[in-house]
């Protein structure tokens, strides 16, 4: 070892400060924005126009902002559910499939009983969707707990299967007979719609449900013994085992909660802004919510903010498509680079950079 060479190394902080934890996602957002604008310049787009359409407009124009609120609902719901699992080190990445199955379960009622009326219909649909999502996630839980199969791969594969189930229904039994052969169901009746909460917009009560569940997640994760057990199970499974916390139960709870929330989000989409079952019910919400969960620091309150940011990225992407001719794929590039930038930034929450001689003992 060359003792005179000075090189950078990471030294663990005694206690990560709250301000750093809040700074990390903000820094990541700034970094990702700059890098992506640079990419757009290389693509021959006008960076000022892109910046205005993508970053400013979602917040300064009310119609745009109301759409941001609309998109916040599903992202918030799914991410809150996922974060509970991630803290217990249960990596459910199949929320997309749980969302789709939730939407299908919810749609069964208006598809089969298009003439039914009554204020009970939309709440029943939301409940059915949540149960559907949880059932779909239960397959992953069973595979993980009983067969010890990797939940990352199983839950992802099930998402790909769910997309095919949706295709099958829309091209076959559930296709609207008067729909000019489009792969979509009938339009749902009025009572199948979640009531609107802001007049003149499409924002509906599911946003309030999502916020209420975010608070419930806060109480569950930060204040309850059950949440504590889950987290300990993730951090130190062996210690948790000695203390009598079952790993299997933690996996079941994590996946069922994640599936329930994602299914509810799927139901709220078809019973809300879309109003029918169709192929494009999700624009990758299930995957975007993974980013939302991490960006919010896996903290129920942090996720409220990160879901608004992610919703704004979606709406900003739509705006930029129209006004700056930016391909919609740019949104996915932005999402991926944002998560990567955040994960790198988080390193500096936990560690500080030091320049020292490479003597391992100093770091230890």
């Amino acid at each position: 070892m060359n003792a005179t060479r000075i090189r950078p190394m990471l030294v663990k902080r005694d206690r990560p400060s709250l301000s750093l934890k809040i700074l990390a996602p903000l820094l990541a957002l700034v970094a990702a924005t700059l890098i992506n604008l640079l990419l757009h310049v290389f693509m021959g787009k006008d960076p000022v126009a892109v910046f205005h359409a993508m970053i400013l407009e979602p917040f300064i124009s009310f119609p745009s902002f109301s759409e941001v609120l609309l998109k916040t609902g599903p992202l918030l719901l799914i991410a809150e559910g996922l974060a509970i699992g991630y803290r217990a080190k249960v990596f459910n990445i199949g929320a997309e499939g749980q969302f789709i199955i939730g939407a299908i379960f919810a749609s069964a009622l208006p598809v089969w009983y298009p003439m039914a009326t009554g204020q009970w219909i939309w709440p029943t649909m939301l409940l059915a969707g949540a149960v559907g999502g949880a059932l779909w996630a239960a397959i992953t839980a069973f595979w993980r707990v009983r067969l010890s199969a990797n939940e990352i791969l199983v839950s992802l594969m099930l998402s790909l299967v769910a997309a095919q189930v949706l295709n099958y229904l829309l091209l076959g039994p559930w296709k609207d007979p008067n729909g000019f052969n489009f792969p979509q169901s009938v339009m749902f009746q009025y009572d199948a719609m979640v009531p609107l909460i802001i007049p003149g917009t499409r924002v509906n009560a599911s946003l309030l449900i999502a916020l209420a569940l975010a608070l419930a997640a806060y109480v569950f994760m930060q204040k309850s013994f059950m949440g504590y057990k889950l987290e300990v199970g993730g951090l130190a499974p062996r210690a948790a085992g000695y203390a009598g916390f079952s790993e299997g139960r933690a996996i079941w709870i994590s996946l069922l909660i994640g599936g329930f929330a994602a299914g509810l989000a799927g139901a709220a989409e078809v019973a809300g802004p879309i109003g029918q079952l169709q192929r494009s019910i999700s624009t990758g919400y299930g995957y975007a919510a993974i980013i939302v969960a991490y960006l919010g620091g896996l903290h129920p309150i942090g996720i409220i903010f990160s879901s608004v940011v992610m919703a704004a990225i979606y709406i900003g992407g739509d705006n930029a498509l129209v006004s700056a001719d930016l391909p919609i794929a740019a949104v996915r590039v932005f999402q991926g680079s944002l998560l990567l930038a955040y994960l790198m930034a988080v390193t500096f929450v936990r560690y500080r950079l030091a320049f020292a001689r490479p003597v391992s003992e100093v770091a230890a």
Binding site: M157, V161, R332, V333, G336, M344
Partner: protein, 303 residues
């Protein structure tokens, strides 16, 4: 009989994208790094290769470009996950999303365009055999992939490089204390994985189905990840697993051609369903996984 011939002759080509990506991931995982971004690496490689072939650059340049792009994106993953000790699962997912996004971005103006694939080379004599003859008529990439499989198997079985890779995956502390650069070896293994995933994508987009469509990788990167588990981290088993998936993806077509009435969505789901079932069967054999698994897989190492 026709169905069997059809499956035998097409199996290796269908298996090649799985095989190349899984072999690359195997090398990374043997060194202790779990890169979940394979799907995105393949998608990026596919787009780059398609664009190069479309503009007349030829297949050699296309594979080189795709491999380079895959390796560079994998190095970005390595910088985050190994250099900065970011969460490996999340960083892999981020790379996957990024790769798929870049693929869609670059490929946007090429949607539904086609290119010319590669001619097939046959083994004289063997290719005239009844029934199995088709096995010996393959494009050059398939032959090279078989050679790569052998080379990787031999590397792990006989060489010091193979031993070193396994050492940093099994017990990085011990490898470090006797003076091996654990992080550097892991970074190299991850870059190799990216290179292979880039090749896999290039093969899918410019040889196997030489047509560009966004999302054309269609989960094959994820199946490649599952294949490494099916193969219990052994090269030969991964090869047989890839052949199985090649056969499964053709069996549906053969059944359809044979007049079996199945919804096309069920056929499309078949590889995913088979993955789920096989993953359940293999994983429930804990002894098998413990015996061959990589001890420090996914665990960060700080020198």
């Amino acid at each position: 009989m026709i169905a069997v011939e059809f499956i035998l002759s097409g199996m290796l080509a269908a298996a090649t994208p799985f095989l190349l990506a899984a072999l690359g991931e195997l090398v990374g995982e043997r060194a202790g790094v779990l890169n979940l971004g394979v799907e995105g690496l393949m998608a990026l490689g596919a787009a780059i290769a398609f664009i190069i072939v479309y503009h007349g650059g030829g297949h050699v340049l296309a594979f080189a470009g795709a491999g380079l792009a895959g390796a560079l994106l994998a190095l970005l993953f390595a910088f985050a996950a190994l250099g900065l000790q970011a969460n490996q699962v999340a960083a892999g997912l981020a790379i996957g999303i990024l790769g798929q996004g870049l693929s869609a971005l670059f490929g946007k103006t090429y949607e539904s365009l086609t290119v010319k694939g590669l001619p097939k080379l046959s083994v004289p004599g063997l290719s005239d055999l009844p029934v199995v003859g088709g096995l010996f008529v393959q494009d050059p990439v398939v032959w090279l992939s078989l050679a790569a499989t052998l080379a990787i198997w031999a590397t792990f079985a006989f060489t010091k490089t193979g031993l070193l890779l396994r050492a940093v995956g099994e017990n990085p502390k011990a490898a470090h204390s006797i003076g091996y650069p654990v992080i550097a070896i892991r970074v190299a293994a991850v870059a190799f994985g990216g290179l292979m995933a880039g090749f896999a994508g290039a093969y899918a987009a410019t040889v196997y189905t030489p047509l560009w469509a966004d999302g054309m990788i269609a989960g094959r990167g994820w199946i490649a990840l599952a294949l490494v588990v099916f193969g219990t981290w052994l090269t030969a088993r991964i090869f047989w697993g890839a052949c199985l998936f090649g056969a499964v993806s053709l069996a549906g077509l053969a059944a359809q051609a044979g007049g079996v009435e199945l919804p096309s969505q069920l056929l499309a789901s078949m590889p995913y369903l088979v993955t789920i079932v096989v993953l359940g069967i293999i994983s429930s054999n804990r002894r098998l996984l413990k015996l061959n698994g990589v001890a420090s897989l996914g665990e960060p190492f700080k020198p």
